[in-house]
């Protein structure tokens, strides 16, 4: 019976203080009756090996005690959906971007790696860990308190079907956004066609700026990009909802534009700067600094471009072939 006593002692530990003895007396009676029946059936005293399956079938001490306790939850089912949305938003729109930004800085910024060598690199992530801990802790605490307050019943019970938000169509392309986009690309094209691509020397504020020989190629590429932008915007105006075709065209346009910006950063675009109060050395220094700054931004361009492309690809996958023929 030592095994039964140990089991009852373990169950007792988890029980509410004022009911411990009563519950244990009753459970003990039941277990001893079961053992007694088994002993009568087998014709001998049960060994520990034979008692063990009876206790195992009864359940773990914590589980058995748990059934006597009232159902409790930190955040009840009424508020849990809101809590879940807030936590997911916190992770996907705040903590994850922060982590990606940290990764981006770590990968693309040599200066940051020099300033934070070895373990110091990971120590620079400490504010992120703190933000994770505090935001999750305080949100959970706030919801747990809300769940126990009168505000919960006010939030859950006072609602009006007419006040519910209208259904939002994620496939719909806003006409306002398309018109804005079209205006910007048309204005850009209007500026680009005014520029003589072979004219590489510019004068302003008494300074003379000479651009690299690749400049005309960029002008042509930018003109083609704006042309593509106008075509895609017109398509959106004609059919203001995402289809596989329009989403793929958007992806193609974004690959092209972010690729172009990347090449622009790496092109050492500024060839010379002179005039004004600038000495020849100052001009060279400024040109080198500008080109270095542009080149070191190339990694960031790739990083941001990758995020944009991620959303473009996700849009293609979400649209799906079945919605291809849906009317706007």
């Amino acid at each position: 019976m030592a095994l039964v006593d140990r089991y009852l002692h373990a169950v007792k530990f988890w029980l509410p203080r004022n009911q411990k003895d009563d519950i244990i007396a009753e459970l003990s009676e039941d277990l001893r009756s079961q053992i007694e029946d088994k002993e009568n059936e087998l014709g001998h005293k049960l060994s520990d090996d034979e008692v063990e399956p009876i206790l195992k079938r009864c359940g773990s001490p914590m589980a058995v005690a748990g059934r006597y306790l009232p159902q409790q939850s930190l955040i009840g089912p009424a508020l849990f959906p809101i809590y879940s949305i807030i936590i997911r938003s916190l992770i996907f729109y705040f903590l994850l971007p922060w982590l990606l930004l940290w990764l981006g800085i770590t990968i693309f910024s040599p200066d940051f790696r020099v300033d934070h060598p070895g373990a110091a690199l990971f120590a620079s992530l400490e504010p992120w860990w703190l933000a994770c801990t505090y935001s999750l802790f305080f949100n959970t605490l706030a919801f747990a308190l809300l769940d126990r307050s009168q505000v919960r019943s006010h939030l859950v019970n006072n609602w009006n079907p007419r006040a519910l938000p209208t259904e939002r169509d994620h496939n719909r392309i806003s006409r306002g956004a398309t018109i804005f986009e079209l205006t910007v690309v048309v204005a850009t094209l209007a500026v680009l066609v005014q520029i003589d691509p072979f004219h590489r020397v510019f004068h302003f504020f008494g300074l003379t700026m000479t651009l690299s020989p690749q400049w005309p190629y960029f002008i042509w590429a930018l003109t083609a990009l704006t042309g593509g932008g106008i075509a895609v915007s017109c398509l959106h105006l004609a059919q203001p909802c995402w289809t596989r075709l329009s989403a793929s065209l958007r992806l193609g346009l974004d690959v092209y534009s972010w690729g172009l910006i990347y090449l622009l950063c790496r092109a050492n675009l500024l060839q010379a700067l002179s005039g004004g109060d600038l000495g020849s050395n100052d001009g060279v220094k400024l040109v080198n600094s500008f080109n270095y700054w542009m080149a070191s931004s190339a990694g960031w361009v790739l990083f941001i471009g990758a995020i944009v492309l991620f959303f473009d690809i996700r849009r293609i996958l979400r649209v799906g072939p079945a919605r291809e023929f849906e009317k706007p």
């Binding site: 459970l27 009676e29 277990l31 001893r32 009756s33 059934r67 006597y68």
Partner: protein
């Protein structure tokens, strides 16, 4: 049918079966306690009638029903051991009568649907 699908179906059936039986347990317990029982004999009685219930489920249920005033209990000595005997309270008898009517109504409705 693949073995994993079969096992999935078995699990789903078992979950629904337990849910169905759990819902009818209070009624079975109240009905069985028209005659006085202590926990172990009550379990045996229910098992004989095809409503086997483990101790971890029965005793918390008995406590809940007693807290609701549907059962009364007393500790008494029997066969040199202290046992807690349960029986229906007057309120319990009334509720049992109403629940049985409800149960028959559900049964009739289900028969109609089937």
């Amino acid at each position: 049918m693949s073995p994993s699908t079969e096992q999935g179906n078995d699990n789903r059936f078992e979950n629904l079966r337990q849910e169905l039986r759990r819902g009818s347990l209070p009624l079975a317990v109240l009905a069985a306690l028209r005659t006085e029982h202590y926990g172990y004999t009550l379990r045996k009685t229910l098992a004989v009638h095809g409503m086997a219930i483990d101790e971890g489920t029965l005793y918390p249920l008995l406590r809940r029903l007693e807290t609701q005033g549907l059962l009364v209990s007393e500790w008494r000595e029997e066969d040199k051991r202290n046992k807690r005997f349960y029986r229906l309270s007057p309120d319990g008898k009334l509720i049992l009568k109403q629940l049985l009517i409800e149960w028959k109504s559900i049964h009739t409705s289900l028969e109609d649907i089937f």
